[in-house]
């Protein structure tokens, strides 16, 4: 293979490099000792260790879910390392000057400068590398208005009442197999608290990076928006290219108190595996938010990475008049498999939810939307609108839609629309006849298809998301 060709192939996944960083990595395997080690490493209080062990006991008795439309060999949990942290993080750096320069270089290469001067205007960032949070920018500035933005490990020490009150309150320990696993072994993630009536002055963002081999990442994020507050949060993720599959099992919990608004956006670009389907991240994620009276939670996700995506960001609309939204673009190429969607649980009166899902399948991939809309008996006047569109590129891929509707209240209104279309030869010919090459044509058509979702993303990220789609589609047209 010529050097040029190699370069071209590597270009496809630009974040696929490995950083040579001395790490402390636990030997593979999972048992009580491992959990005690993680807890001790973080100097955790006794209650949290108990909480973890309880989760572990529960997990041992649970079985892996098999209902998702994905196929993969059994995961050998004894072959995964459950903790890995750069050596230099033994003493958490107090400022940027103390951070290992090699780590800083890693983020620079990923296009994420950590110097506050160079950072994206108006975005504060928490960066998580394997199992630990490296640093959080703009903390002081945020603290001035009372916003807490730090790693969850730190929050356990500094804000134990908040963590104790809300951890597991939205996603209980035994919620599902992967949530139980996460509850037992979670390492790091972000913690956000927005006080009453405060509109967070910056975008908050977490960037997750898996670096070490055979290591799983089990992050845990907890966002609490107190009464009448407002926050917009974005997460991004990448990993090196490896032949082995790597596990990522995260839990995200959102609490929107009365009249609060949380906007949570994800651009997921974990390594998807190569064109033959070798390697890639197994992404099993539980994300859920609870909305109290008049509150609103809006999930926007752009999922282009991972070998397997298993993810259903959901809203529990507990309070009257609360609003849940889910905007999703999921793109699969080559041998990727995605089973993703949402759950909207309407409990309060006049609750409203909107679901807009755009699935794009190319290559030999499989892309499924799975969504549940439930109207509880008390959900008088509740409404849901769901629109589920699939776009196929080529004829070797699959698109599936599994909508579940449970209505126990006759006054609730549920609307569902679904379409499946193909990037047609006529469209491609029109584009080429106007001078566009096939790749540009496909990415333009796909971007057009995703427009309703992209317009929900914060500006800077909408542009990024468009570019990401273009890269992910490489090689999808012959």
């Amino acid at each position: 293979m010529s050097e040029q060709v190699k370069q071209l192939i590597n270009q496809e996944y630009a974040a696929g490099f490995y950083s040579d960083i001395v790490s402390e990595t636990l030997p593979p395997g999972l048992n009580e000792t491992v959990i005690r080690f993680i807890s001790a490493k973080k100097n955790e209080p006794e209650w949290l260790l108990e909480w973890r062990l309880k989760s572990y006991t529960a997990w041992l008795e649970m079985i892996e879910p098999e209902w998702a439309h994905v196929k993969y060999d059994d995961i050998d949990f004894q072959a995964v390392s459950f903790y890995s942290a750069p050596k230099s993080m033994d003493e958490k750096p107090k400022s940027l000057a103390e951070v290992d320069p090699e780590l800083l270089r890693t983020y620079e290469k990923l296009g994420i400068p950590l110097h506050e001067q160079a950072a994206l205007a108006g975005v504060a960032m928490d960066v998580v590398f394997d199992s630990v949070s490296v640093l959080t920018t703009f903390r002081e500035k945020l603290f001035e208005v009372g916003v807490i933005f730090c790693s969850i490990s730190e929050a356990v020490h500094k804000y134990p009442e908040l963590v104790k009150k809300y951890l597991g309150s939205v996603v209980p320990q035994k919620d599902n197999y992967y949530a139980a696993l996460n509850s037992a072994v979670f390492s790091d993630g972000s913690f956000v608290y927005i006080p009453k009536g405060v509109r967070c002055p910056m975008e908050l963002s977490t960037y997750f990076r898996i670096n070490e081999q055979n290591t799983g990442q089990f992050e845990r994020t907890l966002i609490i928006a107190d009464e009448g507050s407002h926050v917009s949060y974005l997460e991004g993720c990448t990993a090196p290219m490896r032949d082995e599959n790597q596990l990522h099992a995260a839990v995200v919990e959102l609490v929107a108190c009365d009249n609060a608004v949380i906007k949570y956006s994800t651009v997921q670009n974990w390594y998807p595996g190569n064109a033959e389907g070798k390697g890639g991240i197994y992404n099993f994620v539980t994300k859920r938010g609870v909305c109290h009276t008049n509150a609103k939670i809006s999930w926007t996700q752009v999922e282009t990475g991972s070998a397997i995506t298993w993810k259903y960001p959901s809203c529990i609309l507990r309070g009257d008049n609360s609003v849940g939204e889910f905007y999703s673009v999921a793109l699969t190429n080559n041998y990727q498999q995605a089973d993703t969607g949402t759950k909207m649980i309407h409990i309060g009166k006049n609750t409203r939810s909107t679901i807009i899902s755009k699935g794009i399948s190319a290559g030999k991939s499989s892309n499924a939307y799975r969504g549940l809309v439930r109207m509880n008996p008390g959900a008088d006047g509740a409404r849901n609108y769901t629109q589920c569109d699939s776009l196929l590129i080529g004829d070797k891929c699959g698109a599936h839609t599994f909508p579940y509707i449970e209505s126990k209240n006759p006054s609730a209104i549920i609307e569902h629309e679904a379409t499946t279309s193909k990037v047609s030869d006529d469209q491609l010919f029109l584009c080429k006849q106007r001078g566009l090459d096939a790749e540009k044509a496909v990415s333009m058509i796909v971007n057009g298809f995703c427009r309703d979702v992209f317009k929900e993303l914060p500006m800077e990220f909408a542009v990024e998301a468009g570019k990401l789609l273009q890269v992910s589609l490489e090689g999808s047209v012959g």
């Binding site: 006529d426 469209q427 029109l430 080429k432 106007r434 001078g435 971007n447 995703c450």
Partner: protein
């Protein structure tokens, strides 16, 4: 400009073009008429390099280049333009974005820089006035929900922006009301120049009252069976094609 010699082409294993010859010099307007299914659209598709159209014999020179050596998009960037008989929709992609991408692709090919968004916006607005399309159409998805006549005017808008050297208009007049027909014809007439040639496929002599052709050809059974001046169109209107097809067999 264009020299087609003994062209044979197949679609889905069916032979459609059977030894077609046609020469077009710079600055000329050629009308092509002929019965349904004769191969007129096929000729446009073969010229622009559409997938699925297999050329089995013959050659085509386009501006002294072997046309078959160029990809579909290269032909377009080299100045070959096809206005579609049935323009397709591309939902969600704004007309403006699409037009800019195609103009930029052509400019890049010719070593020119891309236009800035502001420059292009100005150009697109002025041009859309020339085809009486409201500016709102620039923001809408490509042909998305356009009426038949609006789609055709949008094709002419694209032609004006791309300034091709060879314009092929495939039944651009079909489905147009009288005003729109006038608009399209004016657009073409404005663009006529010694460096630019047109192939105008039509079923109606009426269009040729507005766009006066230098030659009229009859395409029947995969070949040009008769060539004449503009009075041939009148003759066809009167007599139909049967007499020519008989001659051709």
């Amino acid at each position: 400009m264009l020299r087609i010699t003994n062209l044979f082409a197949k679609v889905e294993e069916k032979e459609i073009l059977k030894g077609l010859n046609l020469t077009i010099n710079a600055g000329e307007v050629h009308a092509i008429m002929g019965p349904n299914g004769a191969g007129k659209s096929t000729l446009g598709n073969v010229l622009s390099g559409r997938d699925g159209y297999e050329v089995t014999d013959g050659k085509i020179d386009f501006n002294d280049k072997d046309l078959f050596a160029l990809s579909t998009e290269e032909r377009a960037r080299e100045g070959l333009f096809l206005a579609f008989q049935y323009p397709v929709e591309i939902p969600g992609v704004s007309n403006m974005e699409f037009l800019k991408a195609s103009v930029d692709a052509k400019r890049k090919h010719h070593g020119q820089s891309e236009l800035s968004a502001v420059e292009f916006m100005k150009l697109a607005r002025e041009t859309s006035k020339r085809v009486s399309l409201d500016q709102a159409f620039l923001k809408r998805g490509v042909n998305e929900g356009f009426s038949g006549g609006e789609k055709k005017r949008n094709e002419i808008l694209q032609m004006m922006l791309l300034e091709p050297s060879l314009c092929i208009l495939d039944e651009t007049d079909s489905g147009l009301d009288i005003d729109a027909l006038q608009i399209v014809a004016n657009g073409v007439n404005e663009m006529r120049s010694p460096e630019r040639s047109f192939i105008i496929v039509t079923h109606y002599q009426r269009l040729l009252d507005y766009i006066v052709p230098d030659f009229v050809h009859v395409l029947a059974n995969g070949r040009i069976v008769k060539t004449g001046g503009k009075q041939l169109a009148l003759e066809l209107e009167e007599k139909g094609y049967a007499w020519l097809e008989e001659e051709a067999v």
